[in-house]
Amino acid sequence: MSATDVLQVEHLTMRFGGLVAIQDLSFRARHGDITALIGPNGAGKTTVFNCITGFYKPTEGRIALHHGDPAMWDELGALTDSSLRKRVRADGGLFLLERMPDYLVTKDARVARTFQNIRLFKGMTVLENLLVSQHNPLMRASGLTVLGILGFGVYRHAENRATEKAIQWLEKINLIDRADDPAGDLPYGDQRRLEIARAMCTDPVLLCLDEPAAGLNPRESGELSELLLSIRQETKTSILLIEHDMSVVMEISDHVVVLDYGVKISEGTSAEIRDDPNVIAAYLGVEQDEVESVITEPVS
């Protein structure tokens, strides 16, 4: 059990009726790393995400997330045996995500996610999109709106802080000029980055991105890689990433987990993965011993 892990997925199994989408999957994401989850279409990557973010209840297995004091990992066994969902202290917290409904996964365990398709609030302005994700601190500060309407200073302060934070993110993704435009009017690549900024405004410990580079042109995916690297560097947020665009995966990932048919077939750094015959076989759709004959030149 490594003290630097932020997420531990253990023996995760997800069945839909007779279909086994994920079979006994275990992997770890280390704190501050970019961990990529790759695999051919239908490998179960998004299902893993849905289990982590509380969208699905896993059939079996444990998904533990941690922030703060690394010593809290030692309490994992005790927490699992209890019927509780989480253990929170002043200096950290330990969460069993498979026991939590989705909004609590965001609110308490601080996991944020994006989807394959863009799910911005298209009718709201760019700035409002970033403010919605700061709903909880604002609701607390406004005393469930009552104090806010009466114009109490506490709420104004909180509102100003939230706006400042949103503006910081808008500057980072170069959308500050369009803060008051409806989010639906932005070009596709900007919407993608806005979605990531919105997720980051929830102040997450773990950011789960489902194919953030899908549909982006090379320049836009370059900007995306930069954004993700700067998030890692500046906020120390751990990132879990599903991606098909191998240029993005290879460039930014610290650790790669490869799935095929719901089973983990390989794991390692991007260099290790690139040369793993298992992975190549899965992507080419051939048996492992045929790989040598199929590949005539090395994969770049």
């Binding site: 989705d102 909004y103 799910r119 609030f121 609701m139 309407i149």
Partner: protein, 305 residues
């Protein structure tokens, strides 16, 4: 001309009441896509809450200041009606969320019948009245013996409606609760993944809608001085018409629709036949639905293929 101005004044007054009720329909429809047929009866309950509060204030507590008692009546009405609506949502609608689309609609019709019958049994089937207050009128213009008047009651209704609408507009556009409501309207799942408690936001929508209906109820009682258990139905349906006319889901649309329906009704009564005023209002609904299905301010549904 004088008749026209007088009817416009009356129409705005009636329209304010419809508009306040219509907001409840339109907000609930916007957020969970359901027509809350019990909303008209929630409005009717609020008129009774106002009636009972007014009588308690006048007879038991002997409060003579009319503004103070109006304020207390409004406050009590809003709180009690909000509680009623919150309870209805909690008991009759929330358990059915995620069920097939017609289930909450049927449940709403059930709640409507329940509320109507409950008030009928608890308060008796006869019309209840309160002693009229604010009898004074201001004469704006007078020609050939016809006076155009603006009564104090109408001024109060306009003022209270305007104040409440401003507060409501502020909540929806500027506060975190309002942003959460609009976010839930567009994508509930995503909102919940950003940490918004969707169930609580929906409850708050019912509460706010009911509070506005309670204001409408108090105004209605003050304006007409008479209420009965069946008074939820027609104003409720007219407010729903207003919401559809304005574009269901659109809040400014609900207010504009309310004012229009109010004016159509009063102008029709003045120039044509009083008996057919409801027919006129509902004909408008049918015509709008045929030629402008999304309403005045509603977003047209564009189907992408």
């Amino acid at each position: 001309m004088e008749v026209f101005i007088q009817q416009i004044i009356n129409g705005i007054t009636l329209g304010s009441i419809y508009g306040l009720i219509a907001i409840g329909y339109t907000m609930v429809f916007g957020i969970i896509g359901m027509v809350n047929f019990a909303h008209g009866d929630v409005f009717m309950v609020s008129t009774f809450v106002a009636l009972v509060t007014a009588l308690i204030l006048a007879t038991w507590l002997g409060i003579s200041s009319i503004f103070l008692s109006l304020f207390v009546i409004l406050l009590v009405g809003m709180v009690v009606t909000s509680l009623v609506s919150w309870t209805i949502e909690r008991l009759a609608y929330r358990p059915l969320r995620g069920s097939f689309r017609l289930a909450p609609l049927i449940s709403a019709i059930g709640m409507s019948i329940f509320l109507m019958n409950f008030v009928q049994v608890a308060q008796g089937p006869r019309n209840k009245s309160i002693p009229p207050f604010f009898q004074n009128v201001i004469v704006i213009m007078e020609r050939e013996g016809y006076q155009v008047t603006l009564s104090y009651r109408q001024i109060i209704i306009w003022a209270v409606t305007a104040t409440l609408l401003t507060a409501f507009w502020y909540i929806v556009t500027k506060t975190s609760l309002g942003r959460a409501q609009r976010a839930c309207e567009q994508d509930q799942k995503m909102a919940s993944l950003l940490g918004v408690d969707v169930d609580r936001t929906i409850s708050m929508t019912f509460v706010i809608g009911a509070a506005l209906a309670a204001v409408a109820g108090t105004m209605y009682l003050m304006y007409y001085g008479v209420v009965s258990f069946s008074d939820g139905f027609v104003p409720g349906i007219k407010a729903f018409t207003a919401a559809v006319l304005g574009g269901i889901g659109s809040i400014p649309g609900a207010v504009i629709g309310g004012l229009l329906i109010g004016m159509i009704e009063t102008l029709w009564s003045a120039y044509f036949s009083l008996d057919y005023k409801d027919v006129a209002a509902f004909c408008i609904l049918a015509i709008v639905l045929i030629f402008l299905p999304q309403g005045l301010l509603g977003r047209p549904e564009v189907e992408k293929v």
